[in-house]
Symmetry: C2
Subunit: 328 residues, 2 copies
């Protein structure tokens, strides 16, 4: 990829193949690719920021992919360009469909105004977070109006995604009482909109009941941000019921947050915390890679394990080596 300027221009033109190639570049661990990715990001960063970034989370089996298909389609009908990214910080895939399974988003995939990027499972959680963050910037520089970030798999991805989006939509299956308890409270508290999916056919009464239960449960929670009580809505991604209303929720949410100044403040906090994650990861990587450190690391670890040296003193000595100070 020697033609970075051409790639940058193509992305600015909204070229989806160029965008896909750029995201692949972000995912590469080769040092020369790393440098190119940084140049790319630096060139496109000024054009980022224009989309609404929406996290879509929920347990496996809730119908997240079907929802994204219907929601994305409704967005296209409203004239929006829609990008979909998947985040899977876990190495193990447990249950649920992978976004790469494009047959599940067949209609969305066919539209020239949509861009769908399956997750790459490789790398550490921190690495995945960075790449997703940067992939969002690239989608924005390519002119997408909404970037949907789907969490795949379980675990901590919900928190990681909440830290990089403007709004979190929680999609859950219709279930009452006991089953609701299984859903981690923390995830509900992270959500700006709760959708009870599958409100169709035989499940409709169950979905209506779950909707009422969640409404009453959420009314007891302190709102996550001033001036916004997370709405609860029973929808059917399959039949399209209630999906257009979700776009209205998104617009109301954006308007409320922009009016209160929280929209900008929230993004500023996210940018600051992204900076510190980068600093942390980069420092540790450079530390590990420094030949002076690498030469001594094994011995020092052994001394700590054998109790001959305290972790505190060993860390200080290795850092002194790293920084080129004379060890004591």
């Amino acid at each position: 990829m020697s033609a970075l300027p051409a790639l940058i221009a193509a992305i600015r033109n909204g070229d989806r193949r160029a965008l896909a190639r750029a995201i692949t570049l972000l995912e590469s661990t080769r040092p020369d690719h790393r440098a190119e990715a940084e140049t790319l990001i630096e060139a496109l960063q000024p054009f980022a920021g224009g989309s609404v970034r929406i996290g879509v989370s929920g347990p496996p089996g809730a119908g997240k992919s079907t929802f994204i298909e219907a929601f994305g389609q409704a967005g296209l009908e409203r004239g929006r360009r829609i990008a979909v990214l998947a985040v899977d910080p876990g190495s193990k895939r447990q249950g649920g469909a992978i976004l790469g399974d494009k047959t599940r988003m067949a209609r969305l995939t066919r539209s020239p105004a949509a861009f769908i990027r399956p997750s790459s499972a490789a790398g550490s959680e921190g690495g995945v977070a960075r790449r997703t963050r940067e992939a969002i910037f690239l989608c924005e520089a390519a002119g997408f109006d909404a970037v949907l970030v789907e969490t795949v798999g379980a675990g901590q991805s919900e928190t990681a995604v909440a830290e990089m989006v403007d709004m979190v939509i929680l999609v859950i299956p219709p279930a009452g009482g006991d089953e609701l308890q299984g859903l981690k409270r923390g995830i509900v508290e992270l959500s700006d909109l709760v959708l009870i999916n599958k409100a169709d056919g035989e499940l409709l009464p169950l979905a209506r009941r779950a909707e009422a239960e969640y409404k009453s449960a959420l009314s007891l929670l302190r709102p996550r941000s001033a001036g916004w009580h997370a709405p609860v809505r029973a929808v059917s991604a399959l039949e399209g019921t209630g999906i257009a209303e979700v776009w209205e929720d998104v617009e109301r949410f954006r308007a409320a947050r922009q009016a209160s100044g929280l929209w900008v403040r929230h993004r500023a906090e996210q940018a600051r915390s992204a900076l510190w994650s980068e600093i942390d990861e980069t420092l540790i990587r450079q530390f590990r890679d420094a030949p002076r450190v690498a030469r001594r690391l094994g011995d020092v670890e052994a001394e700590v394990v054998q109790g001959k040296k305290s972790p505190r003193a060993a860390a200080r000595a290795l850092i002194a080596l790293f920084l080129g100070e004379s060890p004591d």
Copy 2:
């Protein structure tokens, strides 16, 4: 505290007041105290490692303090010297008694063979973890045979404590069905021994039923370490029922782990991960404190927040400053 050698000697003699002073030194953030603490730890580290390190976790109201009082007393009767430390990584105290409330451990406090240290709430989670780790070393150097680490407050302290002890005892109140669900599954999975406390008076039948339910639930879990299925025991800390048996569990656990080699391997892993935590925290602290970085940090943060610079490039530039390389 200029008389470090005297302090070191006193700790080696098992002097509890010297031990308390040394732990206070660990908690200080003054640079000269930091240096003294490091000297102290370095001198005493070779004498550490001889105790069994036991984490005691459980929800507020489970009777952890009462259990520690009874369990500690039973240990003293078996000729052991018992140290008790409290960990409270959260700044907010919610429910439950603080270990500093010594009236709840009146008998234990009076014994010359016991040492009780209330938690200090100050500092970051990482800082609390480090100080507790080092306080364990100091208690061992002072000749204590068992170090009990009580988690105070809720949240992530259980995980942090599990990473610094040999064995985790979970103390829970008698409750069945629905209430059990409230207990995070992860915490049960971290436990090597589950005690249903308050198996006395009117609560006895409830405790027996909870014991049976937990036994059957735990039998479905994969054992946390080979050769050890976490026993479930209904006990009464108040009446002392079943408490002596807990010491037998501790000895059986230690014997099983030592036989399998897991005892040593587990401690080695903990030491290694402690080293990396120290490296991480110390690097970031030195980075923040470096004048070259501090001078530019505000401007660079602002550029990132305004979208003029990517977090990745900003981090690289600041780190280059920190490491004294010429910025580009």
